[in-house]
Each structure stands twice: as structure tokens, then as C-alpha cells.
Assembly symmetry: C2
Homo-oligomer: 208 residues x 2
DNA sequence: TACTATACGGAACGCAGGTTCCGTTTGTCA
DNA sequence: TGACAAACGGAACCTGCGTTCCGTATAGTA
């Protein structure tokens, strides 16, 4: 999945080693390295966030930087591949949740999930936190998809009466963006869930 | 005010042009430049945040970078002077609020103030957002003072029964740190106040 | 095993930002 | 007005990071 995501992302950027089908297959070591790079990038972006240097990924993968760039045209492309792999199922879950019987419960469940994912994956937290802020990153498209899906879910939850009427999706983005940003630092899981529940309660307009 | 704060901050760092009293006074142009630097730094850190380059400050002040460094040993020292000037009155207000008749109202008022200040001053938002996160910055000491003052105020508000019992100061730090971070981006004042009120309601444990 | 296209590693490059250095300018005082 | 210490500006330096380049190594093939 990450594979295809990466390939797709790459295809739109430049000619990559994942060449036309009929060509002779790539060398085995190249294939192996590609996997190692993807795994290393996952670890590094998860633990260090989007600002981690490329050298770090290369080192962990046991390859030179050149090899990283032979697989991905830019650092942004590597990041995008990783973020996409991580974010796609979340976006799909949000879309699927729109059809849930109880849109309110589904909406709040998604908020919890966003916080959990942010806590577990620093680059993702960066991405979600940035969703309501800058608009100039490669991953913006993905962030938009997430925001759109959440917006639809939010509208349904609100229409069902489980979210107070005087708030908007932008408020949710602001609260969750901020929370995501803090979430990774907090190794403290209970505190995080408590905060998410506070936000949920606030959006409901009533106490637990 | 900014002057004295800067001087104090500077004194603790290294020997600065603000030399021992009995020495002959500094040259008039030096004094003027110092003021210009402080003003420029204020503007730059307010609008661009803590990451703004020193050159920007020098340019706006109409001096060379060398002159900035003759007044402050490092960029961190400049930032600290500015943040201190901005944060000190807030910290004092938080301490004073501990003696308020209604600790609950005082506590929530401080939350509002923190959000407002963050929205108006990017570097301050950075600082507040970081309060619950890293521990390696020059401004950490200030952040700690703020957190300590807020913690005391929080305890009193909680003891007075206006804050639910099942949350801690760390939850407040997390929520407000995140909100501060988003707040600057949001030129939208109503949205910001709405979010702060949501957080306040959540901490109260009841709806408006 | 020998040959060659493919892939590799990592030095080198460019750029940005913090900090230092030094030749020049200028305020101050006699 | 002349002399000198104080202060100035900004080029130069250093470090970190993204990206490129090229001489070398090797998987695949005959």
C-alpha cells in the first residue's frame, strides 16, 4: 500500500525507477533498498517528525543519500508517501463514518482516533496541526481531503443534534489541530484521552 | 518597560554595553540604535514568530547585524528580552489573580487573556505552545514561571468548585498550548473566543 | 567468468541562517 | 578642529540540510 502510494506520488513528479511494465525488472538490491528506505522513513518521521533530515533516513536504511533520491525526487515526496500511507485509511474511515447509524458517536470516535494517531506518529501530528494553518506543503492535498471528510461528518453529527449548533468545523479544526500538536509530546495516554473527552464534551455542549 | 526588561535579561547573560554605572555613558547613537533594535525585534517576533531571521530585525532597525550582536550576545537573548517584556505582565496578572475573590472567574479570564495574547503575538504563541513541550530553550525559565502561576490559580479555581475535579493542570497546559499554536493563524477573532469558551466550558464541566 | 547496464555511496554544491571579525565611520572631549 | 575610543556595517565564516554528481561496485546475463 505504501508502495503504490509512493509510486503514484512519484509518477507525478519525475521518471522513477518504477519504470513502464514491459521493461526488464529492477535489480534485486534496488528493490530491497527501496523497502529499507520506506521502513526507515516510517520510523524517522514517526519519531522525529517532518523536520527530520534525509541523512537520518539514509543512515537507518543503511544506504547513501543518493539512493534515497534515486527512489524519491525530493524529501517532500518521501514524506508524502509516508503520510499518505498513514492518512489514507483515516480519511477513508472518516468517509465511511458519514454513513454510520449514529453520526454523533462516529464523529467523536474519529476525533479520538485523530488524537491517538497524532500521539503515535509525530509527522502525522505535524500534518494535522498544519491542516488549519499553512497551505503550501506537498501534503496539503491530503490534509484537505481529511478536513473535507471531517467537515461532512461534522455536519451530520451537528444535524443529528449531538453537536451544539453554535460551533463550526473551523472550531473543530482549531481545537484538534492544537491538540494534535501537543499530543505527540505527551507520552501520557490518560491525559490525552482526558483532553479529547473534554473537547468532545465541549462540542456536545454538555458535561459527561 | 521593554527597555528595563531587556536590560535585566541581558545582564544575566554577558557583559553588555549597559555597563557599570560609574563608567562614562554610552554614545548617543548606540543608545538610539539599541532602542531601534528592540522596537524592530518586537515587530518582527510579533508578526513572524520566533523563527524570524536576525537580518530581518537588523534591516528593520536600520542597522547592521553586527550592531544587533553588540547589544545582545545571541539571537536567543534578543528573543528572550522581547518575550520577557511581553510575558512578565501576564505572569504577574496570573499571580495577582490568585488573590481574587472569585478564583474561578479569574482563572477563566486568564485563559482568555492567554489566547488573546497568543493571537496578537506570534512569538508568544510559539512560547506558550512550547510551554508544555520542549525544555531546552532560553525562554524555558519564563514559561515555567507562567505555568507555575497558572497552576496555582488552577488549584484555587478547582478548590472553589468551578473546575471539574477530574482534570489536572497538565490538561490545561495541553489544551491551551495547542490552542495558542493555532490562535495566531486564526485572524478570526470570534472563532478564537468561541474556542476558548468551549475549553472553559469543558473545564467547568457544564455547558453555557 | 567476463561484460555491461544498473545501482550505489558519499563527496561536493548551494542556500539559509547564526555568529564573528575587521576596516571604516563617527560621537565626544579637549 | 584634531585625536581617539566607541560604535558601525556588512563581508566572511561556520554549520546544517536538501540536492546533485560522478567514480566505483555489483547483479544479471551469456
Amino acid at each position: 500500500m505504501a508502495e503504490s502510494a509512493a509510486a503514484a506520488a512519484a509518477a507525478s513528479k519525475a521518471a522513477l525507477p518504477t519504470s513502464p511494465p514491459e521493461d526488464r525488472p529492477r535489480r534485486a538490491d534496488a528493490e530491497r533498498n527501496r523497502g529499507a528506505i520506506l521502513e526507515a522513513a516510517e520510523v524517522v518521521f514517526r519519531t522525529q517528525g517532518a523536520d527530520a533530515p534525509i541523512d537520518e533516513i539514509a543512515r537507518l536504511a543503511g544506504v547513501g543519500v543518493g539512493t534515497v533520491y534515486r527512489n524519491y525526487p525530493t524529501k517532500a515526496a518521501v514524506l508524502e508517501a509516508i503520510i499518505e500511507a498513514r492518512l489514507t485509511p483515516i480519511i477513508e474511515a472518516a468517509r465511511a463514518a458519514c454513513d454510520a447509524e449514529d453520526p454523533g458517536a462516529a464523529f467523536f470516535a474519529m476525533l479520538r482516533r485523530l488524537a491517538d494517531e497524532s500521539a503515535a506518529f509525530k509527522a502525522l501530528a505535524d500534518s494535522i496541526a498544519a491542516a488549519g494553518i499553512d497551505l503550501h506543503e506537498a501534503k496539503q492535498e491530503l490534509a484537505n481531503q481529511l478536513v473535507d471528510a471531517m467537515a461532512e461528518l461534522f455536519r451530520r453529527a451537528q444535524r443529528s443534534g449531538q453537536v451544539r449548533q453554535d460551533v463550526g468545523i473551523d472550531d473543530v479544526t482549531m481545537l484538534m489541530g492544537g491538540l494534535s500538536h501537543s499530543a505527540f509530546a505527551a507520552s501520557d495516554t490518560p491525559a490525552r484521552s482526558r483532553c479529547v473527552e473534554l473537547v468532545c464534551d465541549a462540542l456536545r455542549g454538555r458535561a459527561t
